[in-house]
């Protein structure tokens, strides 16, 4: 590895891995978390809280299936409530994982190596939480099968392929599948490591079965790398398409506040913004609790903060443009919508969203904030909240003032809405805590490639 490059200001850029690590130390340190180390109290505590919240989700969903969607706060005119808000929020969070694992790989950013594994896991779990909402918001998910999937059924009915809601099914379905494939492909060599290091036979057998008999053959590696790169290349347009299609759910309609051409890029930027906030929310406690400061260095934390700042500014531009379009369109419904958003009954939500998503992240301009994990964690938490508020504002304020004042109304979320929402957070936490218990949360084989000893000496330039 290159010596630390010193800049003119005398500032030394932190490395992507602290010096002194070898293949052995990297392997031992990461695999020990799964195989030998005792888990801290905070792990059991987090899992318990997550599990209890998951049980709350189960209760909320069971009652939903018994009573139907009437238990939620949705009604005319706000027919889309928490379900779509939470769906878009979760799907957005998922985007950072793919961005880190695919786009940063194609851009040759070596700092992705320490964070891609758990960011991909975060993607999978976020997509799983997201997928719950469109399924259950039908109230009768078993009927959704023939509404959503094109299969020959006894009624001779087929889905409407001109609807963005069907595009969503294919986009999210593909995204979940490809994310899972990408994650599993990355895991196989590490599963082989766990197989070879496991002390107990059944553990070795379990990891061995999952590792498919991987033996690190160069012929396999060559094929593996080609496939991995192609998967990254395929995931890149895919991840951009997913939130674009999600934004089509809104933009293809004719509701003021939804019918906007800026939606696809604005949604994609918002997704990456929310996702990086969540990656930071997870990474900062993880590195502190498991002592991973050698692998997730300040360089990673700072870079993620910078990505968050940039995408946050793009999102800010989106808000400004929404307001500008409202005025410039000279359409009375458009201008009323934006005026109502800023001064109407939901104005506190709007200004809270501006505070969370535009004002708070400006702290990241300060180096002190970027290099103080606790401050950055707080900023990321605020952004997590802000991105949820953004979806709330888009969905609810656009609907609650219908074209005719006689149809105006308000949205009041019920306890079942909140139980379902917080329940999915519990599900996410549970899945994530189980993940860090049974799988290596940092890609071991990729960490080996950035250890100083990994460079082949005297080889002709490649």
């Amino acid at each position: 590895m290159d010596p630390k490059p010193a800049t003119t200001s005398g500032y030394i850029r932190p490395p992507v891995i602290e010096p002194g690590h070898t293949f052995t130390s990297v392997t031992e340190k990461i695999s020990a978390i799964v195989l030998t180390r005792r888990h801290p109290f905070s792990w059991f505590f987090g899992l318990t809280v997550g599990f209890l919240m998951t049980m709350m989700l189960m209760m909320a969903l069971t009652y939903l299936l018994i009573k139907g969607t009437g238990i939620w706060g949705i009604n005319v005119p706000v027919g889309w409530g928490f379900a779509i808000i939470n769906f878009v929020w979760w799907i957005g969070i998922g985007h950072a994982g793919t961005l880190i694992s695919a786009i940063l790989l194609l851009l040759n950013q070596d700092w992705r190596t320490s964070i891609n594994r758990f960011a991909e896991a975060m993607t999978l779990f976020a997509v799983a939480c997201a997928a719950i909402f469109p399924l259950v918001h039908t109230g009768r998910p078993w009927l959704a099968a023939y509404w959503l999937f094109p299969y020959p059924n006894s009624m001779g009915v087929w889905p409407q392929f001109r609807s963005p809601l069907i595009w969503d099914v294919f986009a999210v379905g593909t995204y979940a599948t490809v994310s899972l494939l990408f994650w599993y492909t990355g895991l196989v060599p590490d599963l082989a490591t766990l197989r070879d290091r496991a002390k107990r036979v059944w553990v070795a057998r379990l990891y061995g079965a999952l590792a498919l008999g991987w033996r690190g053959s160069a012929r396999h590696w060559a094929r593996y790398e080609t496939a991995y790169l192609l998967l990254a290349g395929l995931s890149t347009p895919l991840v951009l398409s997913v939130h674009t299609v999600v934004s089509f759910d809104f933009a293809v309609s004719i509701i003021p506040g939804w019918h906007a051409t800026i939606f696809p890029p604005y949604f994609v930027a918002g997704a990456i913004y929310a996702g990086f906030a969540m990656v930071l929310t997870l990474a900062i406690p993880l590195r502190a609790i498991y002592g991973l400061q050698d692998f997730i260095t300040m360089r990673h934390i700072e870079n993620m903060a910078k990505v968050m700042l940039v995408t946050g500014l793009i999102v800010g531009y989106g808000y400004v443009m929404e307001a500008f379009f409202g005025w410039y369109s000279a359409n009375r419904y458009e201008s009323f919508m934006i005026w109502n958003r800023m001064t109407g009954p939901y104005a506190p939500y709007y200004w809270a969203l501006i505070f969370c998503n535009i004002i708070t992240p400006q702290w990241i301009w300060f180096k002190r904030v970027r290099t103080t994990p606790i401050l950055l964690f707080m900023v990321a938490m605020v952004v997590n909240v802000g991105m949820w508020l953004e979806r709330f504002v888009i969905v609810v304020t656009s609907l609650h003032r219908d074209f005719l004042p006689s149809s105006w109304g308000m949205f009041h979320a019920t306890r079942w809405d909140y139980m379902t929402f917080f329940g999915t957070i519990g599900l996410f936490v549970t899945l994530f805590f189980l993940f860090i218990r049974v799988l290596p949360m940092i890609s071991i084989f990729e960490m080996r490639t950035i250890v100083p000893g990994a460079k082949v000496k005297g080889a002709e330039p490649h």
Binding site: G156, V157, D196, L234
Partner: protein, 179 residues
């Protein structure tokens, strides 16, 4: 060492990637073709040394993508024009711009599935048993050690001569791999 038992080949162990790449290059130059190198992470110089680029993977992925595109568009066109035509104000049944998102998603889906299936199946995986695992030291191949195994099926393989050749590469140790 017992020379009467059937053998898969001879395996040499190296300490670092540089030594393994040099060894692989010499083994190839010596005329051996049925040999393999084992490392805990991908080493690009090694792929060059062993000339083991598999050009079928990108080709299969391209074909998978094309099949996905055709299936995706064909499914929607068939559903919308043949199986369930809805006449809405005389608008065309095959309104192709509306079919692009699903066509795109299925292109990616099929290509990605092909990519994963190609690296697994072309590598002969899943394979729960392989003779190289008979060498106890081989457990470190997935951790921090580097191995090169010349297989007995290679026409140039001769237990004694190959052993001497491997010795000349300066390995840490050489093991017989039982079949």
């Amino acid at each position: 060492m017992d020379q009467t038992r059937p053998t898969y080949g001879l395996m040499a162990e190296f300490d670092d990637p540089t030594a393994l790449v040099a060894a692989a290059r010499q083994t190839y130059a010596e005329g051996y073709r049925q040999f393999d190198s084992y490392s805990p992470f991908p080493i690009h110089e090694l792929f060059d040394a062993m000339k083991c680029e598999d050009r079928r993977v990108p080709l299969f992925v391209l074909l998978g993508g094309i099949v996905g595109a055709v299936v995706g568009f064909g499914l929607q066109a068939w559903v919308s024009a043949v199986a369930y035509p809805l006449n809405i104000g005389g608008r065309p049944f095959i309104s192709w711009p509306m079919f692009i998102p699903v066509t795109f998603e299925l292109t990616i889906l099929f290509a990605a599935l092909t990519a994963v299936l190609s690296w697994i199946l072309l590598s002969g995986l899943p394979l729960p048993y392989h003779p190289v695992f008979n060498v106890p030291r081989f457990a470190t191949a997935s951790q921090d050690r580097f191995f090169l195994a010349i297989e007995a099926v290679d026409p140039k393989f001769d237990r004694k001569r190959t052993f001497e050749f491997l010795q000349s590469l300066g390995p840490r140790e050489i093991n017989d791999v039982e079949a």
